[in-house]
């Protein structure tokens, strides 16, 4: 079987780490390219620790993203604020990106790095699907991403992605590309999902290889599979809400409302998160997206709830 990814191809001296990576994108030449013998063989190589391009402004990583698994599939939620130091660089960013029909990824860390690596991941998954005529499993996707990020460990690449997806059974090999799939983006938040009835009927699959999956991959090299993850500067606040109320048996509406509340509480306390909340729901039928909601509304609802409690 041909080695598409060059993982072991180049023969390295034992003292150098293998950085055979599948990607062949252009890296601009650094101001002082360090003379290194074998490196010229590779299509590219990550920046040497001693050489960096000077940054125009300090990077900072503010966000709140979360994902959790429950009986009805996987919920992924994130705020929409991109901050650069104390400035809100953009109030309407998409931090949750679909990769294919059954996988969305929430991003946190440096915005540019996340965008790039999401595109790279989408491309590699599509290439895998074309070459091998089946969808790569979520665990395989996470491992591929982790191995692609590994050579950049120690550089300033900062990417923390949570892969939220549904693995289909081995028999079902069809995994339609994102643009062609039947998952609907909704314009009416109340009729969000395509098939909630099917989802509630479908129990959590006993087979370890199929069913909902949630995997956290970070540019440090961490790769963790679990049932609930929250990432970003607002994540401690989100964990506070989620850890208390999350249960396997939540209904879909309860789960969405819990995710929304967790993001709201985090954005309330964390200066670097805010504006709107994006919510995605992944089931065996694919992902579906809810209309983006302004958290200002949630804040007014919460204020009203509190005044009602005080008065009533």
């Amino acid at each position: 079987m041909t080695d598409y990814y060059n993982f072991g191809l180049r023969r390295l001296k034992k003292s150098r780490r293998n950085s055979g990576i599948p990607l062949h994108f252009f890296i601009p030449t650094l101001p002082n390219p360090a003379p290194s013998n074998n490196r010229s063989l590779f299509p590219y190589s990550p920046a040497n620790q001693s050489v960096t391009v000077r940054r125009p402004f300090p990077l900072s990583h503010g966000t709140t993203t979360l994902g959790f698994i429950f009986q009805g599939g996987v919920i992924a939620a994130a705020d929409t604020r991109a901050s650069a130091g104390g400035l809100v660089a953009c109030p309407e960013v998409h931090k949750i990106t679909p990769i294919h029909s059954h996988l969305v990824v929430t991003s946190s860390g440096s915005g540019a790095d996340c965008m790039l690596w999401e595109r790279i991941l989408t491309r590699e998954i599509r290439l895998y699907q074309l070459r091998h005529r089946r969808c790569l499993s979520i665990r395989g996707t996470a491992k591929l991403l982790s191995f692609m990020l590994h050579p950049f460990k120690g550089t300033e690449v900062c990417v923390a992605l949570t892969l939220c997806g549904w693995d289909k059974d081995a028999g079902n090999t069809d995994c339609t590309k994102m643009s062609e799939d039947l998952s609907s983006t909704t314009d009416d938040s109340s009729s969000a999902v395509c098939s909630s009835q099917d989802v509630t009927a479908m129990a959590h699959s006993a087979s370890p290889s199929s069913g909902p999956k949630l995997i956290y991959v970070c540019s440090d090299g961490a790769r963790l599979q679990g049932d609930i993850f929250s990432v970003g500067s607002g994540s401690p606040y989100a964990y506070g809400v989620l850890d208390r109320d999350l249960r396997w048996s939540l209904s879909k509406e309860e789960a969405i409302s819990l995710a929304r509340e967790a993001v709201f509480r985090a954005t309330h306390r964390d200066a670097y998160s805010g504006n709107n909340v994006d919510l995605f729901h992944v089931t065996a039928q694919g992902w579906s997206q809810r209309k983006r909601e302004d958290l200002k509304e949630e804040y007014y609802r919460d204020m009203k709830r509190k005044t009602n409690i005080v008065e009533g």
Partner: protein, 199 residues
């Protein structure tokens, strides 16, 4: 932050590791397994920097399996430990060293049980008992005091429980649960997890 411990008996090795996967102040996972099965009778326990642990441990794991495929028989624990140390040493003075602390525990049909302590500077020592992490400061003296070369399995498990008890009492971090495994001539056995509340 993380904790590994190994105790060698006359015909077994008992190892335990905590189950926390943390990222700065947050516990991201409470049930993370830090033990990697190198072969039927060898376990590698690995802690250290976030990505380095899994990368390095899986690299060693796959190479040990490759050796078995090529040569038809498995590496002994001593050979596996020395192979691991050599790899750590080779990377140590490269631009990308692995920052990992390891315990390798195994049972050799010829030489019996063995516990090997390795750290990120690629030192290697075969030891009757060993521990890694801040918790080691609290528990090594307990092991020094109560260890005997002829411990039975139950006595070794009690010694392990004493160590975990001490961590619960004095260690500033909450290490809620520990995976425990035992290696003997029959292979690797999973024992019951030690959790808070259980004695």
């Amino acid at each position: 932050m993380e904790y590994l411990i190994g105790i060698q008996g006359p015909d077994f090795v008992l190892v335990a590791a905590d189950n926390v996967a943390a990222s700065s102040i947050i516990q991201m996972k409470h049930d993370y397994d830090k033990m990697f099965k190198l072969s039927e009778k060898i376990l590698l326990l690995c802690v250290g920097e976030a990505g380095d642990t899994v990368q390095f441990a899986e690299y060693i794991q796959k190479n040990v399996q490759l050796y078995k495929m090529r040569n038809g028989y498995e590496l002994s624990p001593s050979a596996a430990a020395n192979f691991t140390r050599k790899n750590l040493a080779d990377y140590l003075r490269s631009r990308t060293p692995y920052h990992v602390n390891l315990l390798l525990a195994g049972y050799d049909d010829a030489d019996g049980p063995g516990l090997y302590y390795m750290d990120y500077l690629s030192s290697l020592a075969k030891a009757p008992f060993a521990a890694h992490g801040y918790g080691a400061f609290l528990t090594l003296s307990i092991l020094d005091r109560h260890y005997r070369p002829d411990l039975t399995r139950d006595e070794a498990l009690d010694l392990l429980k004493k160590c975990v008890e001490e961590l619960r009492k004095r260690f500033i971090l909450n290490l809620h649960s520990f995976t425990v495994r035992l290696i003997d001539k029959e292979g690797i056995h999973d024992l019951e997890k030690l959790t808070a509340g259980a004695k």
